[in-house]
């Protein structure tokens, strides 16, 4: 018989060896995921940086952030390749013509190849996406929180409510393109809103509503029952209880989960494709004649722009620049919005804790 000391020193058993293999696979899958994520973000950052950054002051390509997309003209001049935006190219041609007229010769206009949307920037797209996110999230949070409060605080917890919950949950699984189609039929055609901000808002809001409702219900449930009882025992009505002893404590949870909603609303292309997005629009959203026209105008949006420049125009090195530049701005924008909401949640949390 082995002494106790020898027993402890024994080499690894079959069980331990199997455990090592299992841990190896777990670790490997974690690393693969990490690698995949890093590759995706790395590619976007690397390729996008070529568009968004520039070697000389101010190091950020302001044009790309602050101007509308334009056609790029590329031509040979004195043996060098020159790239010019549509606007610059027109001025350049006008100047050539003027010089030619002054000297009495006929103007020699260089032959140029043009690439749509490869010059200028994506300012209207950023604005459009921000507007879509702000409007649809306001609608979704308003309707979603109201529904969640009704379902979990007021409604009798019977089979009807269970059925409604199930329906909401199923709604979350509906593909976004179906929501797009629904919005097109409902808001664009039936309500006659045409392709417009407001049609996009409602379509996107309906798409994220299940997420918002489910998350809000969870956050409401997480508020201790003692808060409700404490308030009611002081003579509060149901609504006073909810307003003053429940919602303030559920809000951080609701906001956290609506961050997911923000990323989804900002990112989905399909729901806005037929309801709100324009490929190209000269006017900015605030350039409207009457204030209510604001709601009934289509907008340009980042995800749709990526889709357009990746599939609707000839592919070449110039279109690739816009694609990845837009993607990088888009990723950064979502990151900024998400961090802002996290910060907001942190602020609310720091004030109230249980």
């Amino acid at each position: 018989m082995a002494t106790p000391a020898e027993q402890f020193r024994r080499q690894s058993t079959a069980i331990q060896r199997r455990e090592k293999v299992i841990v190896f696979f777990l670790r490997a899958s974690a690393w693969i995921i990490l690698l995949a994520g890093a590759t995706v973000l790395g590619t976007i950052a690397w390729k996008g940086a070529g568009t968004l950054l520039q070697p000389n002051f101010p190091f950020i390509n302001i044009t790309f952030l602050a101007e509308a997309p334009q056609t790029l003209h590329v031509f040979e001049l004195d043996g060098e390749t020159v790239e010019m935006s549509d606007q610059d190219f027109r001025e350049f041609r006008a100047k050539l013509a003027e010089e030619a007229a002054a000297s009495g010769e006929s103007a020699i206009v260089p032959d140029s190849t043009s690439y749509v949307y490869a010059a200028g920037g994506i300012f209207p797209n950023i604005v459009g996406t921000l507007l879509l996110v702000a409007g649809s999230m306001s609608i979704a949070l308003g309707l979603g929180i109201a529904t969640a409060i009704y379902l979990s605080e007021y409604a009798r917890q019977g089979s009807t409510v269970r059925f409604i919950r199930l329906a909401i949950l199923n709604l979350a699984g509906v593909p976004s393109v179906v929501f797009g189609l629904f919005g097109f039929g409902m808001f664009v055609l039936f309500f006659g809103w045409n392709v417009s901000l407001i049609a996009g808002w409602f379509t996107l809001a309906f798409m994220v509503l299940p997420v918002v409702i489910t998350a809000s219900e969870e956050a409401l449930r997480a508020v201790p029952q003692g808060f409700r009882e404490g308030a009611l025992a002081l003579g509060a009505t149901r609504w006073q209880t909810i307003r003053r002893a429940v919602i303030p404590h559920a809000l951080p949870g609701i906001l956290t989960s609506s961050i997911l909603g923000i990323a989804r609303v900002a990112g989905e292309t399909a729901p806005i494709m037929f309801t709100a997005a324009f490929i190209m629009r000269d006017k900015l959203p605030w350039e409207v004649d009457r204030w209510f026209d604001f709601f009934f105008q289509g907008v340009m949006a980042l995800p749709y722009h990526i889709y357009v420049v990746s599939s609707k125009i000839p592919q070449n090195e110039y279109s690739a620049r816009v694609q990845f530049g837009t993607a990088l701005v888009f990723v950064l924008l979502v990151a900024v919005i998400a961090s802002a909401s996290l910060f907001l949640r942190h602020r609310i949390r720091a004030r109230q804790r249980w």
Binding site: F227, G230, A233, G235
Partner: protein, 274 residues
């Protein structure tokens, strides 16, 4: 109170159900049946609770103490399927299950302190003013006054007067419970219901709350549920013993503990079952 009282309580008869001589009954329960769905929690309970006294409800777990207590401010209304099927509860002569009763007004007059301390995760000040703000009191002076008055009444003022704007959750368990008592006092109820208010507290904090209960009966009528026999003996004037939803015996605390007339009561208070 005189332990050799000549009052001879015969349990569950109307004689025993009447209040302590000389003190008017503030809560009168008559023949009360209470159900949770199919499950009977109270079975023909009748008792009269005298004002400005501490009345203890004792009995083994699940015998219906909390249910009875929560009938007095109709907190059971919130539970789906919970229903009073028979009998009445009158407070100052008004049937509180009557159709013209405003439950919110009832709860302002019948405050409650819970087993699990439940201060709101707001400041001490906001905890106390919560009830008054519900009633639309906005005046800063009135609120300040109420805060000081309630905290003094709950014997908490000296400990927290310099930190009124800190979170109520920063207090110790015993302080939190006294904060909850102060919160209930702030709306100036007549009756304060306490459901095992000390069960989560250590002996020192418990002693302080008991002391407080003793003091509070000058101003309020107190009904307390407790599992702690010593506590019932120490701080109550009247004791009701419930078992399986029935009121077995209700009398002066002294009588219940020294000379109970029912064998089940005797077994329970002497710790032989429950």
């Amino acid at each position: 109170m005189d332990p050799t009282t000549t009052e001879s309580p015969s349990p569950t008869t109307p004689a025993a159900a009447s209040a302590d001589a000389g003190r008017p009954a503030i809560i009168e329960v008559e023949d009360l049946d209470f159900y949770y769905g199919e499950n009977r929690a109270l079975d023909g309970v009748s008792l009269a609770i005298p004002s400005h006294q501490v009345t203890a409800l004792i009995g083994p777990s699940g015998c219906g103490k909390s249910t009875l207590l929560r009938c007095f401010n109709r907190m059971n209304d919130l539970i789906e399927g919970a229903e009073r099927t028979r009998g009445t509860v009158r407070i100052r002569g008004v049937d509180i299950f009557g159709p013209e009763v405003n439950v919110m007004e009832l709860r302002k007059r019948v405050g409650m302190v819970f087993q699990k301390t439940n201060p709101f995760p707001n400041s001490i000040y906001e905890n106390i003013t919560f009830g008054l703000q519900l009633q639309g009191v906005r005046s800063k002076t009135r609120l300040d006054e109420a805060v000081e008055r309630s905290l003094r009444a709950a014997a908490l003022w000296d400990e927290v007067k310099d930190r009124l704007h800190e979170s109520g959750l920063s207090l110790s368990g015993g302080q939190q419970q006294r904060l909850c008592i102060a919160r209930a006092i702030a709306v100036e109820p007549e009756i304060i219901l306490m459901d095992e208010p000390c069960s989560a507290l250590d002996p020192v904090a418990t002693a302080r709350v008991e002391e407080l209960i003793h003091k509070l009966k000058q101003e309020f009528t107190i009904v307390i549920v407790t599992h702690n026999m010593q506590q019932a003996a120490r701080c109550s004037d009247r004791t009701a013993f419930l078992y399986l939803g029935k009121l077995i015996e209700y009398a002066d605390t002294q009588t219940i503990f020294i000379n109970p007339s029912d064998s089940q009561t005797e077994a329970y208070v002497s710790g032989r079952f429950g």
